[in-house]
Protein backbone atom coordinates (compact mmCIF):
# COMPACT_ATOMS: atom_id res chain seq x y z
CA UNK A 1 0.00 0.00 0.00
CA UNK A 2 1.20 3.51 -0.72
CA UNK A 3 1.06 5.91 2.18
CA UNK A 4 1.64 9.61 1.97
CA UNK A 5 3.27 11.92 4.47
CA UNK A 6 4.61 15.42 4.86
CA UNK A 7 7.71 16.43 6.83
CA UNK A 8 9.68 19.55 7.66
CA UNK A 9 13.41 20.03 8.01
CA UNK A 10 15.09 23.19 9.30
CA UNK A 11 18.69 24.24 9.74
CA UNK A 12 21.05 27.02 10.53
CA UNK A 13 24.57 26.96 9.29
CA UNK A 14 27.71 28.92 10.18
CA UNK A 15 29.19 30.68 7.16
CA UNK A 16 32.84 29.97 6.53
CA UNK A 17 35.22 28.26 8.92
CA UNK A 18 34.51 29.91 12.27
CA UNK A 19 36.16 28.95 15.57
CA UNK A 20 39.19 31.22 14.96
CA UNK A 21 40.19 29.25 11.86
CA UNK A 22 41.77 31.54 9.21
CA UNK A 23 39.12 32.55 6.69
CA UNK A 24 40.43 35.04 4.15
CA UNK A 25 39.97 35.78 0.47
CA UNK A 26 41.63 38.11 -2.02
CA UNK A 27 40.62 39.74 -5.27
CA UNK A 28 42.44 41.98 -7.69
CA UNK A 29 40.69 44.39 -10.06
CA UNK A 30 42.58 45.97 -12.95
CA UNK A 31 41.24 48.57 -15.36
CA UNK A 32 42.75 48.40 -18.82
CA UNK A 33 43.35 51.37 -21.12
CA UNK A 34 40.36 50.45 -23.28
CA UNK A 35 38.05 50.42 -20.27
CA UNK A 36 37.78 46.66 -20.05
CA UNK A 37 38.36 45.01 -16.71
CA UNK A 38 40.49 42.09 -15.58
CA UNK A 39 39.61 40.48 -12.27
CA UNK A 40 41.98 37.95 -10.68
CA UNK A 41 41.10 35.75 -7.77
CA UNK A 42 41.97 32.26 -6.59
CA UNK A 43 38.28 31.43 -6.25
CA UNK A 44 37.00 28.27 -7.99
CA UNK A 45 33.68 28.14 -9.75
CA UNK A 46 32.95 24.43 -9.99
CA UNK A 47 29.43 24.99 -11.16
CA UNK A 48 27.87 27.05 -8.40
CA UNK A 49 28.03 30.25 -10.46
CA UNK A 50 30.45 32.36 -8.40
CA UNK A 51 32.21 33.66 -11.54
CA UNK A 52 28.96 35.22 -12.69
CA UNK A 53 28.10 36.92 -9.44
CA UNK A 54 31.63 38.30 -8.95
CA UNK A 55 31.38 39.91 -12.39
CA UNK A 56 27.99 41.28 -11.34
CA UNK A 57 29.48 42.77 -8.17
CA UNK A 58 32.40 44.46 -9.91
CA UNK A 59 30.05 45.72 -12.63
CA UNK A 60 27.63 47.05 -10.02
CA UNK A 61 30.37 49.02 -8.27
CA UNK A 62 31.87 50.51 -11.45
CA UNK A 63 28.60 51.09 -13.31
CA UNK A 64 29.63 48.98 -16.27
CA UNK A 65 28.30 45.97 -18.18
CA UNK A 66 29.39 42.72 -16.63
CA UNK A 67 30.36 41.18 -19.94
CA UNK A 68 33.26 43.67 -20.24
CA UNK A 69 34.97 41.86 -17.37
CA UNK A 70 37.53 39.17 -17.94
CA UNK A 71 37.94 36.84 -15.01
CA UNK A 72 41.12 34.93 -14.27
CA UNK A 73 40.62 32.43 -11.48
CA UNK A 74 42.11 29.49 -9.62
CA UNK A 75 45.66 29.70 -10.89
CA UNK A 76 48.26 29.86 -8.10
CA UNK A 77 50.72 31.32 -10.60
CA UNK A 78 48.49 34.25 -11.51
CA UNK A 79 45.82 34.78 -8.89
CA UNK A 80 45.88 35.86 -5.25
CA UNK A 81 44.69 33.31 -2.72
CA UNK A 82 40.94 33.20 -2.11
CA UNK A 83 40.87 30.10 0.05
CA UNK A 84 38.85 27.00 -0.85
CA UNK A 85 35.42 26.83 -2.39
CA UNK A 86 33.88 25.30 0.69
CA UNK A 87 31.83 26.13 3.76
CA UNK A 88 29.42 28.06 1.47
CA UNK A 89 31.83 30.99 1.83
CA UNK A 90 32.70 32.41 -1.59
CA UNK A 91 29.85 34.89 -2.04
CA UNK A 92 30.27 36.01 1.53
CA UNK A 93 34.09 36.22 1.80
CA UNK A 94 35.45 36.57 -1.75
CA UNK A 95 32.44 38.72 -2.63
CA UNK A 96 33.52 41.22 0.00
CA UNK A 97 37.06 41.28 -1.44
CA UNK A 98 35.60 41.94 -4.91
CA UNK A 99 33.56 44.87 -3.64
CA UNK A 100 36.50 46.28 -1.67
CA UNK A 101 38.92 46.11 -4.61
CA UNK A 102 36.31 47.65 -6.92
CA UNK A 103 35.62 50.49 -4.49
CA UNK A 104 39.34 51.19 -4.09
CA UNK A 105 39.87 51.58 -7.81
CA UNK A 106 36.65 53.51 -8.17
CA UNK A 107 38.07 56.08 -5.75
CA UNK A 108 41.03 56.72 -8.06
CA UNK A 109 38.73 56.98 -11.09
CA UNK A 110 36.45 59.29 -9.18
CA UNK A 111 39.23 61.75 -8.41
CA UNK A 112 40.18 61.83 -12.09
CA UNK A 113 36.56 62.39 -13.09
CA UNK A 114 36.13 65.17 -10.51
CA UNK A 115 39.14 66.91 -11.95
CA UNK A 116 37.92 66.61 -15.54
CA UNK A 117 34.22 67.40 -14.94
CA UNK A 118 34.72 69.89 -12.13
CA UNK A 119 31.91 68.24 -10.15
CA UNK A 120 31.95 66.24 -6.92
CA UNK A 121 28.55 64.49 -6.80
CA UNK A 122 29.38 61.84 -9.39
CA UNK A 123 27.48 58.73 -10.36
CA UNK A 124 28.92 55.65 -12.15
CA UNK A 125 26.06 54.25 -14.25
CA UNK A 126 25.61 52.52 -17.63
CA UNK A 127 29.24 52.95 -18.69
CA UNK A 128 29.17 56.65 -17.93
CA UNK A 129 30.22 58.94 -15.09
CA UNK A 130 28.13 62.05 -14.63
CA UNK A 131 27.17 64.73 -12.15
CA UNK A 132 23.86 64.30 -10.39
CA UNK A 133 23.20 68.02 -10.34
CA UNK A 134 24.54 68.71 -13.84
CA UNK A 135 23.88 65.53 -15.78
CA UNK A 136 25.15 67.10 -18.99
CA UNK A 137 28.63 66.97 -17.48
CA UNK A 138 29.64 63.44 -18.22
CA UNK A 139 32.49 61.22 -19.39
CA UNK A 140 32.39 57.67 -20.67
CA UNK A 141 33.91 54.94 -18.54
CA UNK A 142 36.20 54.08 -21.42
CA UNK A 143 37.53 57.62 -21.72
CA UNK A 144 37.96 57.88 -17.96
CA UNK A 145 40.00 54.66 -17.90
CA UNK A 146 42.24 56.08 -20.58
CA UNK A 147 42.66 59.34 -18.63
CA UNK A 148 43.65 57.34 -15.55
CA UNK A 149 46.34 55.54 -17.49
CA UNK A 150 47.59 58.79 -19.12
CA UNK A 151 48.05 60.27 -15.66
CA UNK A 152 50.11 57.26 -14.56
CA UNK A 153 47.76 56.45 -11.70
CA UNK A 154 47.54 52.97 -10.17
CA UNK A 155 44.93 51.17 -12.26
CA UNK A 156 45.01 47.94 -10.28
CA UNK A 157 43.87 47.31 -6.72
CA UNK A 158 44.04 44.25 -4.53
CA UNK A 159 41.74 43.69 -1.59
CA UNK A 160 41.91 41.18 1.18
CA UNK A 161 38.89 40.25 3.24
CA UNK A 162 39.17 38.46 6.54
CA UNK A 163 36.19 37.00 8.43
CA UNK A 164 38.25 35.01 10.93
CA UNK A 165 36.31 35.00 14.19
CA UNK A 166 37.36 34.68 17.80
CA UNK A 167 37.26 31.18 19.18
CA UNK A 168 34.59 30.17 21.68
CA UNK A 169 35.44 29.84 25.34
CA UNK A 170 37.26 26.50 25.53
CA UNK A 171 35.76 25.69 28.93
CA UNK A 172 32.15 26.65 28.42
CA UNK A 173 31.86 26.40 24.65
CA UNK A 174 30.15 29.77 24.73
CA UNK A 175 30.77 32.53 22.22
CA UNK A 176 30.00 33.46 18.67
CA UNK A 177 31.82 30.87 16.60
CA UNK A 178 30.89 32.20 13.17
CA UNK A 179 30.85 35.53 11.44
CA UNK A 180 27.22 35.00 10.42
CA UNK A 181 24.66 32.24 9.95
CA UNK A 182 22.40 31.07 7.13
CA UNK A 183 18.91 29.71 7.72
CA UNK A 184 16.80 27.35 5.63
CA UNK A 185 13.64 25.26 5.89
CA UNK A 186 12.18 22.62 3.60
CA UNK A 187 8.96 20.67 3.27
CA UNK A 188 8.89 17.22 1.72
CA UNK A 189 5.91 15.21 0.55
CA UNK A 190 6.51 11.49 0.07
CA UNK A 191 4.69 8.29 -0.85
CA UNK A 192 6.00 5.18 0.90
CA UNK A 193 5.28 1.76 -0.58
CA UNK A 194 4.89 -0.34 2.57
CA UNK A 195 5.16 -3.55 0.55
CA UNK A 196 8.58 -2.86 -0.91
CA UNK A 197 10.12 -0.08 1.21
CA UNK A 198 10.25 2.20 -1.82
CA UNK A 199 10.03 5.94 -1.13
CA UNK A 200 8.93 8.33 -3.82
CA UNK A 201 9.51 11.99 -3.08
CA UNK A 202 6.58 13.81 -4.65
CA UNK A 203 7.46 17.42 -3.97
CA UNK A 204 9.94 19.62 -2.12
CA UNK A 205 9.30 23.18 -1.06
CA UNK A 206 12.58 24.86 -0.10
CA UNK A 207 13.11 28.26 1.51
CA UNK A 208 16.59 29.68 2.06
CA UNK A 209 17.64 32.95 3.69
CA UNK A 210 20.46 34.15 1.46
CA UNK A 211 20.66 37.69 2.84
CA UNK A 212 20.47 39.08 -0.68
CA UNK A 213 20.13 37.09 -3.89
CA UNK A 214 22.87 38.56 -6.11
CA UNK A 215 21.55 36.39 -8.94
CA UNK A 216 18.12 34.90 -8.16
CA UNK A 217 18.15 32.20 -10.84
CA UNK A 218 21.60 31.19 -9.64
CA UNK A 219 20.20 30.81 -6.11
CA UNK A 220 17.30 28.74 -7.42
CA UNK A 221 19.78 26.52 -9.22
CA UNK A 222 21.73 26.07 -6.01
CA UNK A 223 18.57 25.20 -4.10
CA UNK A 224 17.45 22.68 -6.73
CA UNK A 225 20.89 21.07 -6.93
CA UNK A 226 21.12 20.93 -3.14
CA UNK A 227 17.72 19.25 -2.88
CA UNK A 228 18.74 16.61 -5.45
CA UNK A 229 21.88 15.86 -3.45
CA UNK A 230 19.94 15.78 -0.19
CA UNK A 231 17.49 13.34 -1.74
CA UNK A 232 20.28 10.95 -2.69
CA UNK A 233 21.82 11.32 0.77
CA UNK A 234 18.47 10.44 2.37
CA UNK A 235 17.42 7.54 0.17
CA UNK A 236 20.07 5.88 -1.94
CA UNK A 237 23.67 7.02 -1.67
CA UNK A 238 25.90 4.68 0.26
CA UNK A 239 29.57 3.84 0.38
CA UNK A 240 30.13 0.26 1.40
CA UNK A 241 33.39 -0.75 2.96
CA UNK A 242 34.69 -4.12 4.06
CA UNK A 243 37.83 -4.54 6.14
CA UNK A 244 39.11 -1.18 4.98
CA UNK A 245 38.41 -1.81 1.31
CA UNK A 246 35.86 0.18 -0.63
CA UNK A 247 33.14 -2.03 -2.09
CA UNK A 248 31.40 0.87 -3.81
CA UNK A 249 33.87 1.66 -6.51
CA UNK A 250 32.08 3.57 -9.23
CA UNK A 251 29.06 5.67 -10.02
CA UNK A 252 27.25 2.65 -11.43
CA UNK A 253 27.02 1.36 -7.87
CA UNK A 254 26.86 4.64 -5.98
CA UNK A 255 23.25 5.60 -6.55
CA UNK A 256 22.87 9.30 -7.09
CA UNK A 257 19.35 10.39 -8.10
CA UNK A 258 18.63 10.63 -11.82
CA UNK A 259 16.50 13.40 -13.30
CA UNK A 260 13.62 10.92 -13.11
CA UNK A 261 13.98 10.71 -9.33
CA UNK A 262 14.10 14.43 -8.59
CA UNK A 263 10.60 15.74 -7.85
CA UNK A 264 9.20 19.18 -8.61
CA UNK A 265 11.04 21.66 -6.40
CA UNK A 266 9.50 24.92 -5.33
CA UNK A 267 12.32 27.30 -4.28
CA UNK A 268 11.64 30.32 -2.12
CA UNK A 269 14.31 32.98 -1.73
CA UNK A 270 14.24 34.77 1.62
CA UNK A 271 16.26 37.99 1.85
CA UNK A 272 17.21 39.23 5.30
CA UNK A 273 20.32 41.31 4.60
CA UNK A 274 23.36 40.72 6.80
CA UNK A 275 25.52 43.79 7.37
CA UNK A 276 28.78 41.86 7.06
CA UNK A 277 27.97 40.46 3.60
CA UNK A 278 28.41 42.10 0.19
CA UNK A 279 25.07 43.88 -0.45
CA UNK A 280 23.80 41.88 2.54
CA UNK A 281 24.46 38.51 0.87
CA UNK A 282 25.55 35.23 2.43
CA UNK A 283 26.07 31.73 1.09
CA UNK A 284 23.52 29.14 0.00
CA UNK A 285 25.57 26.13 -1.20
CA UNK A 286 25.28 23.78 1.75
CA UNK A 287 22.18 25.36 3.34
CA UNK A 288 20.25 24.21 0.25
CA UNK A 289 21.14 20.59 0.92
CA UNK A 290 21.09 20.26 4.70
CA UNK A 291 17.30 20.34 5.43
CA UNK A 292 16.35 17.86 2.67
CA UNK A 293 17.15 14.55 4.38
CA UNK A 294 15.49 15.49 7.71
CA UNK A 295 12.42 16.74 5.82
CA UNK A 296 12.18 13.45 3.90
CA UNK A 297 12.73 11.32 7.01
CA UNK A 298 10.08 13.30 8.88
CA UNK A 299 7.71 12.80 5.96
CA UNK A 300 8.38 9.04 6.09
CA UNK A 301 7.62 9.06 9.82
CA UNK A 302 4.45 11.01 9.12
CA UNK A 303 3.42 8.50 6.45
CA UNK A 304 4.07 5.20 8.21
CA UNK A 305 5.04 5.97 11.81
CA UNK A 306 8.56 4.62 11.40
CA UNK A 307 11.64 6.58 12.52
CA UNK A 308 14.69 6.17 10.35
CA UNK A 309 17.88 6.70 12.35
CA UNK A 310 20.42 5.35 9.88
CA UNK A 311 20.98 6.43 6.28
CA UNK A 312 20.26 5.68 3.54
CA UNK A 313 16.58 4.89 3.92
CA UNK A 314 16.88 2.48 0.99
CA UNK A 315 14.61 -0.45 0.11
CA UNK A 316 16.11 -2.98 2.53
CA UNK A 317 16.68 -0.65 5.46
CA UNK A 318 13.24 0.90 5.35
CA UNK A 319 11.46 -2.39 4.79
CA UNK A 320 13.26 -3.90 7.81
CA UNK A 321 11.93 -1.04 9.97
CA UNK A 322 8.44 -1.56 8.54
CA UNK A 323 8.58 -5.29 9.38
CA UNK A 324 9.86 -4.56 12.88
CA UNK A 325 6.98 -2.19 13.43
CA UNK A 326 4.46 -4.77 12.18
CA UNK A 327 5.93 -7.35 14.57
CA UNK A 328 5.50 -5.10 17.63
Amino acid sequence: MKKRGIGIGCMYYGMGYGFSRPDVSAAEVEICEDGSIIVRSGEVDYGQGSDTIFCQMVAEELGIRYDTIQLITADTFATPNAGPTSASRLTYVTGNAMVKASRAIKKTLQSVAEEILGERDLLFLDEEIFSESHPERRISFRQLAKEGHLRGLPMVETAWHDITTKDVNPETGQGDAYSTYAYAAQLAEVAVDTETGEVEVLRIVAAADVGKAINPSNVEGQIEGGVAMGLGYALTEEIKEEGGYLKTRNLGEYMIPTSMDVPPIDPHIVEVPVSSGPYGAKGVGEPALIPTAPAILNAIANAIGVRVTELPANLENLHRLIREKERD
Partner: protein
Amino acid sequence: MQRFQFYNPRSVEDALNFLAEKGERSKIIAGGTDLIPGLRLEEIRPDFVLNIPEINPFRGIKEMDHSFWIGPTTTFTEMVESNLLSRSFPALVQSAASVGGPQIRNRGTIGGNIANASPAADVLPALLAHGGELELQSKRNGKRIIPLAEAILSPYKTCFRSDEILTGIILKKLELGTRSAFEKLGRRKAMARARMNLTLLLRLNHREEVSELRIVPGAVMPVAKRMDRTERMLLGKKPEPLLIEAASKTLAEEMVEVTGARWSTEYKIPVLKNIFKRMMKQLLIV
Protein backbone atom coordinates in the same frame (compact mmCIF):
# COMPACT_ATOMS: atom_id res chain seq x y z
CA MET B 1 41.38 -0.01 -23.98
CA GLN B 2 42.79 -3.32 -25.06
CA ARG B 3 43.67 -4.12 -28.66
CA PHE B 4 41.55 -6.32 -30.88
CA GLN B 5 40.55 -6.54 -34.51
CA PHE B 6 37.11 -5.21 -35.34
CA TYR B 7 35.32 -7.06 -38.12
CA ASN B 8 32.24 -5.68 -39.85
CA PRO B 9 30.64 -8.54 -41.81
CA ARG B 10 28.66 -7.77 -44.94
CA SER B 11 26.16 -10.61 -44.65
CA VAL B 12 24.91 -13.41 -42.44
CA GLU B 13 27.08 -15.82 -44.40
CA ASP B 14 30.14 -13.61 -43.98
CA ALA B 15 29.56 -13.46 -40.22
CA LEU B 16 29.06 -17.24 -39.93
CA ASN B 17 32.20 -17.91 -41.98
CA PHE B 18 34.17 -15.59 -39.75
CA LEU B 19 33.02 -17.34 -36.59
CA ALA B 20 33.58 -20.80 -38.09
CA GLU B 21 37.22 -19.87 -38.40
CA LYS B 22 37.85 -17.55 -35.46
CA GLY B 23 34.88 -18.09 -33.12
CA GLU B 24 36.95 -19.27 -30.17
CA ARG B 25 38.96 -16.05 -30.16
CA SER B 26 36.04 -13.74 -30.99
CA LYS B 27 33.27 -11.85 -29.29
CA ILE B 28 30.11 -10.68 -30.97
CA ILE B 29 29.17 -7.06 -30.41
CA ALA B 30 25.56 -5.89 -30.81
CA GLY B 31 24.75 -2.73 -28.81
CA GLY B 32 27.92 -3.10 -26.79
CA THR B 33 26.29 -1.99 -23.53
CA ASP B 34 27.52 -5.14 -21.78
CA LEU B 35 30.51 -5.95 -23.96
CA ILE B 36 32.27 -2.57 -23.79
CA PRO B 37 32.24 -2.42 -19.96
CA GLY B 38 33.53 -6.02 -20.03
CA LEU B 39 36.39 -5.03 -22.35
CA ARG B 40 37.19 -2.00 -20.22
CA LEU B 41 37.34 -4.04 -17.04
CA GLU B 42 39.39 -6.66 -18.93
CA GLU B 43 36.96 -9.39 -17.93
CA ILE B 44 37.22 -10.57 -21.53
CA ARG B 45 40.17 -10.40 -23.92
CA PRO B 46 39.00 -11.30 -27.42
CA ASP B 47 41.34 -11.08 -30.42
CA PHE B 48 38.40 -10.28 -32.70
CA VAL B 49 35.19 -8.37 -32.23
CA LEU B 50 32.44 -9.12 -34.72
CA ASN B 51 29.97 -6.30 -35.29
CA ILE B 52 26.45 -7.52 -36.10
CA PRO B 53 23.98 -4.56 -35.92
CA GLU B 54 24.55 -3.70 -39.58
CA ILE B 55 23.38 -7.09 -40.78
CA ASN B 56 19.84 -6.33 -41.95
CA PRO B 57 18.34 -9.84 -41.64
CA PHE B 58 19.07 -9.60 -37.88
CA ARG B 59 16.74 -6.65 -37.40
CA GLY B 60 13.04 -6.16 -37.10
CA ILE B 61 9.86 -7.74 -35.82
CA LYS B 62 7.74 -10.02 -37.99
CA GLU B 63 4.31 -11.52 -37.47
CA MET B 64 3.74 -15.09 -38.64
CA ASP B 65 0.63 -17.29 -38.48
CA HIS B 66 1.12 -18.58 -34.97
CA SER B 67 4.14 -16.70 -33.74
CA PHE B 68 6.28 -13.59 -33.84
CA TRP B 69 9.90 -13.39 -34.86
CA ILE B 70 12.14 -10.75 -33.29
CA GLY B 71 15.55 -10.05 -34.76
CA PRO B 72 18.40 -10.27 -32.23
CA THR B 73 19.70 -6.74 -32.84
CA THR B 74 16.27 -5.20 -32.30
CA THR B 75 16.85 -2.48 -29.70
CA PHE B 76 14.73 -1.95 -26.61
CA THR B 77 13.56 1.37 -28.04
CA GLU B 78 12.39 -0.42 -31.18
CA MET B 79 10.54 -2.95 -29.03
CA VAL B 80 8.86 -0.19 -27.02
CA GLU B 81 7.86 1.64 -30.18
CA SER B 82 6.47 -1.47 -31.90
CA ASN B 83 2.68 -1.49 -31.99
CA LEU B 84 2.78 -5.16 -32.94
CA LEU B 85 4.64 -6.10 -29.75
CA SER B 86 2.74 -3.69 -27.52
CA ARG B 87 -0.55 -5.25 -28.59
CA SER B 88 0.59 -8.86 -28.35
CA PHE B 89 3.08 -8.88 -25.45
CA PRO B 90 2.51 -5.85 -23.23
CA ALA B 91 4.50 -7.29 -20.31
CA LEU B 92 7.49 -7.95 -22.54
CA VAL B 93 7.37 -4.38 -23.80
CA GLN B 94 7.19 -3.13 -20.21
CA SER B 95 10.32 -5.08 -19.42
CA ALA B 96 12.11 -3.47 -22.38
CA ALA B 97 10.90 -0.03 -21.28
CA SER B 98 12.37 -0.62 -17.82
CA VAL B 99 15.93 -1.10 -19.06
CA GLY B 100 18.47 1.59 -18.05
CA GLY B 101 17.69 4.93 -19.61
CA PRO B 102 17.02 6.23 -23.13
CA GLN B 103 20.68 5.95 -24.18
CA ILE B 104 20.91 2.31 -23.10
CA ARG B 105 17.55 1.46 -24.68
CA ASN B 106 18.66 3.03 -27.96
CA ARG B 107 21.72 0.80 -28.12
CA GLY B 108 20.99 -2.30 -26.06
CA THR B 109 19.44 -5.25 -27.89
CA ILE B 110 17.17 -8.14 -27.03
CA GLY B 111 19.79 -10.60 -28.30
CA GLY B 112 22.48 -9.05 -26.10
CA ASN B 113 20.22 -9.29 -23.06
CA ILE B 114 19.80 -13.01 -23.64
CA ALA B 115 23.38 -13.81 -24.64
CA ASN B 116 24.83 -11.86 -21.74
CA ALA B 117 22.75 -14.05 -19.37
CA SER B 118 23.01 -11.68 -16.43
CA PRO B 119 21.08 -12.77 -13.33
CA ALA B 120 19.79 -9.18 -13.11
CA ALA B 121 18.53 -8.96 -16.71
CA ASP B 122 15.04 -7.53 -17.15
CA VAL B 123 13.97 -8.71 -20.61
CA LEU B 124 15.35 -12.23 -20.34
CA PRO B 125 12.96 -13.34 -17.54
CA ALA B 126 10.01 -11.72 -19.29
CA LEU B 127 10.89 -13.71 -22.42
CA LEU B 128 11.08 -16.87 -20.33
CA ALA B 129 7.57 -16.28 -19.08
CA HIS B 130 6.42 -15.87 -22.68
CA GLY B 131 7.92 -19.24 -23.61
CA GLY B 132 10.52 -17.79 -25.94
CA GLU B 133 12.52 -19.94 -28.31
CA LEU B 134 15.90 -19.15 -29.79
CA GLU B 135 17.06 -19.61 -33.33
CA LEU B 136 20.82 -20.23 -33.50
CA GLN B 137 22.92 -20.53 -36.63
CA SER B 138 26.40 -21.72 -37.43
CA LYS B 139 28.23 -22.62 -40.62
CA ARG B 140 28.91 -26.14 -39.39
CA ASN B 141 25.44 -27.09 -38.12
CA GLY B 142 23.11 -24.72 -39.89
CA LYS B 143 20.07 -23.66 -37.95
CA ARG B 144 18.83 -25.07 -34.62
CA ILE B 145 15.95 -23.98 -32.43
CA ILE B 146 16.05 -24.38 -28.66
CA PRO B 147 13.80 -23.21 -25.83
CA LEU B 148 15.20 -20.19 -24.00
CA ALA B 149 14.64 -22.07 -20.73
CA GLU B 150 17.44 -24.46 -21.74
CA ALA B 151 19.82 -21.85 -23.07
CA ILE B 152 21.06 -20.24 -19.86
CA LEU B 153 23.38 -22.61 -18.01
CA SER B 154 24.62 -20.42 -15.18
CA PRO B 155 25.16 -16.70 -14.54
CA TYR B 156 26.69 -15.15 -17.67
CA LYS B 157 26.90 -18.53 -19.38
CA THR B 158 24.79 -19.76 -22.29
CA CYS B 159 24.83 -23.00 -24.27
CA PHE B 160 25.74 -21.06 -27.45
CA ARG B 161 28.73 -22.54 -29.24
CA SER B 162 31.58 -20.25 -30.15
CA ASP B 163 30.75 -20.44 -33.87
CA GLU B 164 27.05 -19.73 -33.33
CA ILE B 165 25.04 -16.54 -33.61
CA LEU B 166 21.66 -15.99 -32.04
CA THR B 167 19.74 -15.08 -35.18
CA GLY B 168 16.17 -14.81 -33.94
CA ILE B 169 13.79 -14.97 -31.00
CA ILE B 170 10.49 -16.74 -31.56
CA LEU B 171 7.43 -16.11 -29.44
CA LYS B 172 4.25 -18.12 -29.88
CA LYS B 173 1.12 -16.01 -29.95
CA LEU B 174 -0.64 -16.00 -26.61
CA GLU B 175 -4.07 -17.52 -26.39
CA LEU B 176 -6.91 -15.06 -26.42
CA GLY B 177 -7.70 -13.67 -22.99
CA THR B 178 -4.18 -14.08 -21.61
CA ARG B 179 -3.35 -11.29 -19.20
CA SER B 180 0.21 -10.30 -18.44
CA ALA B 181 2.14 -7.94 -16.23
CA PHE B 182 5.74 -6.97 -15.51
CA GLU B 183 7.04 -5.07 -12.51
CA LYS B 184 10.55 -3.98 -11.70
CA LEU B 185 11.89 -2.85 -8.38
CA GLY B 186 15.05 -0.76 -8.54
CA ARG B 187 16.94 1.65 -6.33
CA ARG B 188 15.97 4.57 -8.50
CA LYS B 189 13.67 5.36 -11.41
CA ALA B 190 16.21 5.07 -14.22
CA MET B 191 19.64 3.56 -14.78
CA ALA B 192 18.93 1.05 -12.05
CA ARG B 193 19.82 -2.61 -12.01
CA ALA B 194 16.78 -4.64 -10.95
CA ARG B 195 16.65 -5.40 -7.26
CA MET B 196 13.89 -7.73 -8.32
CA ASN B 197 11.49 -8.06 -11.22
CA LEU B 198 8.48 -10.25 -11.78
CA THR B 199 6.63 -11.32 -14.91
CA LEU B 200 3.20 -12.93 -14.67
CA LEU B 201 1.02 -14.44 -17.39
CA LEU B 202 -2.48 -15.50 -16.42
CA ARG B 203 -5.53 -16.90 -18.18
CA LEU B 204 -8.84 -17.90 -16.62
CA ASN B 205 -11.39 -20.26 -18.13
CA HIS B 206 -15.12 -19.56 -18.35
CA ARG B 207 -15.53 -20.87 -14.78
CA GLU B 208 -13.02 -18.27 -13.59
CA GLU B 209 -10.46 -20.96 -12.82
CA VAL B 210 -6.79 -20.58 -13.64
CA SER B 211 -6.18 -22.35 -16.92
CA GLU B 212 -2.70 -20.95 -17.52
CA LEU B 213 -0.19 -19.33 -15.20
CA ARG B 214 3.46 -18.47 -15.66
CA ILE B 215 5.52 -16.91 -12.91
CA VAL B 216 9.08 -15.79 -13.53
CA PRO B 217 10.90 -13.66 -10.97
CA GLY B 218 14.13 -12.05 -12.13
CA ALA B 219 17.23 -10.82 -10.32
CA VAL B 220 16.57 -13.03 -7.30
CA MET B 221 18.15 -16.28 -8.49
CA PRO B 222 21.38 -17.05 -10.37
CA VAL B 223 19.33 -18.19 -13.36
CA ALA B 224 15.73 -17.06 -13.81
CA LYS B 225 13.16 -19.82 -14.26
CA ARG B 226 9.44 -20.49 -14.12
CA MET B 227 8.25 -21.29 -10.62
CA ASP B 228 6.32 -24.41 -11.52
CA ARG B 229 5.37 -25.57 -8.02
CA THR B 230 3.60 -22.27 -7.34
CA GLU B 231 2.05 -22.30 -10.81
CA ARG B 232 0.64 -25.81 -10.24
CA MET B 233 -0.85 -24.78 -6.91
CA LEU B 234 -3.15 -22.36 -8.67
CA LEU B 235 -3.82 -24.26 -11.90
CA GLY B 236 -7.43 -25.42 -12.26
CA LYS B 237 -8.48 -23.49 -9.17
CA LYS B 238 -10.32 -20.27 -8.51
CA PRO B 239 -7.71 -17.66 -7.51
CA GLU B 240 -9.24 -16.75 -4.16
CA PRO B 241 -7.30 -14.43 -1.82
CA LEU B 242 -6.47 -17.24 0.62
CA LEU B 243 -5.08 -19.40 -2.16
CA ILE B 244 -3.03 -16.51 -3.53
CA GLU B 245 -1.68 -15.91 -0.05
CA ALA B 246 -0.65 -19.57 0.23
CA ALA B 247 0.84 -19.48 -3.27
CA SER B 248 2.93 -16.45 -2.37
CA LYS B 249 4.48 -18.45 0.48
CA THR B 250 5.29 -21.32 -1.86
CA LEU B 251 6.77 -18.87 -4.33
CA ALA B 252 9.17 -17.51 -1.70
CA GLU B 253 10.06 -21.08 -0.65
CA GLU B 254 10.81 -22.03 -4.24
CA MET B 255 13.16 -19.07 -4.47
CA VAL B 256 14.95 -19.89 -1.22
CA GLU B 257 15.36 -23.53 -2.31
CA VAL B 258 17.48 -22.20 -5.17
CA THR B 259 19.37 -19.41 -3.45
CA GLY B 260 19.66 -20.63 0.12
CA ALA B 261 19.40 -18.10 2.91
CA ARG B 262 21.60 -15.02 2.30
CA TRP B 263 21.74 -11.54 3.76
CA SER B 264 19.28 -10.38 1.15
CA THR B 265 16.67 -13.14 1.60
CA GLU B 266 15.31 -11.38 4.66
CA TYR B 267 14.21 -8.62 2.29
CA LYS B 268 13.46 -10.66 -0.79
CA ILE B 269 11.04 -13.13 0.82
CA PRO B 270 8.41 -10.65 2.03
CA VAL B 271 8.82 -8.33 -0.93
CA LEU B 272 8.56 -11.06 -3.58
CA LYS B 273 5.39 -12.24 -1.82
CA ASN B 274 4.00 -8.71 -1.72
CA ILE B 275 4.73 -7.95 -5.35
CA PHE B 276 3.26 -11.28 -6.45
CA LYS B 277 0.04 -10.71 -4.50
CA ARG B 278 -0.26 -7.15 -5.72
CA MET B 279 0.24 -8.11 -9.37
CA MET B 280 -2.18 -11.04 -9.13
CA LYS B 281 -4.77 -8.71 -7.69
CA GLN B 282 -4.24 -6.26 -10.57
CA LEU B 283 -4.46 -9.02 -13.18
CA LEU B 284 -7.71 -10.32 -11.65
CA ILE B 285 -9.36 -6.90 -11.71
CA VAL B 286 -8.78 -6.55 -15.47
